[in-house]
């Protein structure tokens, strides 16, 4: 597949926003922190989510009709995501406002719980958009939603650690430790999906694509000289070396680099650098996620002429 920047930004930004909210809600329900920390955290999470939502509009050919995409929630994970994302943003806003306005403890905990459920649902929706496409074998695995969830939580916890170092330093070491653990787990899950995908064997072949049982079939012409939507949307067009470089850079940036920085939870600058490095790694990770997927339609587009 050809990675789309709009989708890469959408999934990484809302993942970090969801993870940040879960990190804050966890402390809100089970721990203690001043209200202004939660208010600022809710604001940062909302900025991340809104930026992701804004990026997603650039993926649409007809953004003015985006409201229609809430219609088919019974069958479409994309439609479900379109419903859950604004609902989650509203609950983050409500939770932050509840802290700002000094609502009762019960109300705040209730809003934190609702928001956490919606964050989890949003992770599931985002992951399932890709995992439900059964012939994209690289994506069609429970590891896909798991990775979206784990990587989102890890980046959110790193952001929470940086935020705590800025606004409420006593919490920073705990957040940094949680970010280290969740980052390690997410890293393992991503390595598992890389290992799985390296061993995949495509179910479709040129023989099944055109229905001629012969081991040697080569394409002579694809019916168009200057390429088509099929050649632009489904091929990343980069050499193997680029893919390998992107893979190694995300493997370095998603966990090892931020992990080294997270060992210094007193320094706001280092924690902010940890989040920046991890987020850059997640962009590379998401790019690779798309580029790695090999669509069976590509069998029909092996040679221009």
């Amino acid at each position: 597949m050809c990675p789309a920047w709009s989708v890469i930004l959408l999934t990484t930004l809302i993942g970090a926003g969801q993870g940040l909210f879960l990190a804050l809600a966890g402390v809100d329900v089970f721990g203690e922190a001043p209200a202004r920390f939660f208010v600022a955290g809710a604001a940062v999470a909302l900025v991340l989510l809104a930026a992701g939502l804004a990026a997603s509009f650039f993926h649409l050919g007809r953004p003015e009709r985006a409201w229609r995409s809430a219609a088919m929630w019974r069958t479409s994970w994309l439609s479900r995501e379109v419903i859950v994302l604004p609902a989650f943003m509203a609950s983050v806003l409500a939770w932050g406002a509840a802290h700002h306005l000094g609502f009762s403890r019960e109300a705040v905990v209730f809003l934190a719980a609702v928001g956490s459920l919606l964050a989890a649902a949003l992770f599931l929706c985002t992951g399932m958009i890709y995992a439900c496409l059964k012939f994209l074998q690289e994506w069609h695995t429970p590891l896909t939603p798991l990775n979206y969830t784990a990587l989102g939580c890890a980046s959110g916890l790193t952001a929470a650690a940086a935020l705590a170092a800025w606004l409420h330093p006593p919490l920073a070491p705990a957040y940094a430790a949680a970010a280290l653990v969740s980052g390690a787990l997410a890293y393992l899950a991503r390595l598992a999906s890389l290992a799985r995908n390296a061993r995949l064997r495509p179910k479709s072949t040129l023989a099944s694509a055109i229905g001629i049982k012969h081991p040697r079939i080569t394409q002579i012409a694809q019916g168009a000289m200057g390429g088509s939507f099929n050649t632009r949307e489904f091929f990343h067009g980069r050499p193997r070396e680029v893919l390998r470089a992107v893979r190694w850079s995300f493997l370095a940036l998603v966990f090892p680099a931020p992990a080294a920085l997270l060992l210094f939870p007193q320094s706001l600058a280092l924690l902010a650098a940890a989040f920046a490095a991890q987020y850059a790694g997640l962009i590379a990770e998401r790019w690779y996620f798309f580029a790695e997927a090999n669509h069976p339609q590509n069998l029909y587009y092996q040679a221009i002429a």
């Binding site: 995409s69 001629i212 587009y301």
Partner: protein, 243 residues
């Protein structure tokens, strides 16, 4: 239930692209608006097509065969592109099984094209909506056309009649009979999409000559044995026949 479909005979297709051009002509002129073309006369012509003819070479030289392979939306009976559409713009008609896109509802998110293993959907780069073969839904029911012309443009254009159009759920239709009697098959059956369009395989045309066809069994020479050879001294009209 009706399921309209095309049956494409790969044994007959000569790869002339008449179906491609007539499809483009009909569908760029309809009420649904034009089909985009960019650089039609430039170095990199590209555009939106519902139908393409691809060419494959099967085998290794010198034992090769050229296969021309027309490819369009297969109107799957279980279309994976339909349930993923967030707006309901992609739908499969209950009455005739045609998979269509409502261009007024499509938001151009391209998710349906990701969900089609055949690459049958192409986005229109100018109208920014997803497009695909409609089986010429705007002409096959057009009562103002003579009945013989109420067929998809590609079917009418094919000079070798490699394309059959009909209801594959009606066992007596020409399309069903061709699938049944000539080994019609579906593409990528491994995904369970149950494509409605079928392809008829290449067939070898060969003459098998048996010995009894060279020397007929009812040859009287065989039944009664060979006639006695005339003596050399016998009078002959042509040096062969003996009186």
């Amino acid at each position: 239930m009706t399921q309209l479909a095309l049956v494409i005979d790969l044994n007959v297709c000569v790869g002339c692209h008449a179906c491609v051009t007539s499809c483009k002509q009909w569908n760029t002129s309809g009420a649904a608006g034009y089909l985009s073309d960019d650089n039609p006369y430039g170095a990199d012509p590209t555009g939106t097509f519902f139908n393409r003819v691809q060419t494959f070479e099967v085998g290794e030289f010198p034992n090769t065969e050229t296969v021309h392979f027309p490819k369009s939306c297969l109107h799957c009976e279980d279309p994976p592109c339909v349930p993923v559409c967030p707006t309901g713009a992609s739908y499969k008609r209950a009455e005739d099984g045609i998979v269509l896109v409502d261009y007024d509802k499509c938001i151009g998110c391209k998710y349906c094209s990701w969900a089609c293993p055949y690459g049958a959907r192409e986005i229109d780069e100018h109208q920014k909506v997803m497009k695909k073969c409609t089986l010429c839904v705007d002409r096959i029911y057009d009562a103002s056309l003579p009945e013989a012309e109420r067929k998809p443009a590609c079917v009418l254009a094919c000079p070798t009649s490699a394309r059959l159009f009909g209801d594959i759920h009606d066992p007596d239709s020409q399309a069903s009979r061709a699938i049944r009697e000539q080994g019609g098959y579906a593409l990528m059956p491994e995904w369970g999409t149950q494509p409605a369009n079928h392809y008829l395989p290449r067939r070898k045309t060969a003459i098998h000559l048996h010995a009894d066809e060279l020397q007929r069994e009812d040859n009287p020479l065989k039944v009664d044995g060979k006639l006695p050879r005339p003596a050399a001294s016998d009078p002959a009209l042509d040096d062969v026949t003996s009186w």
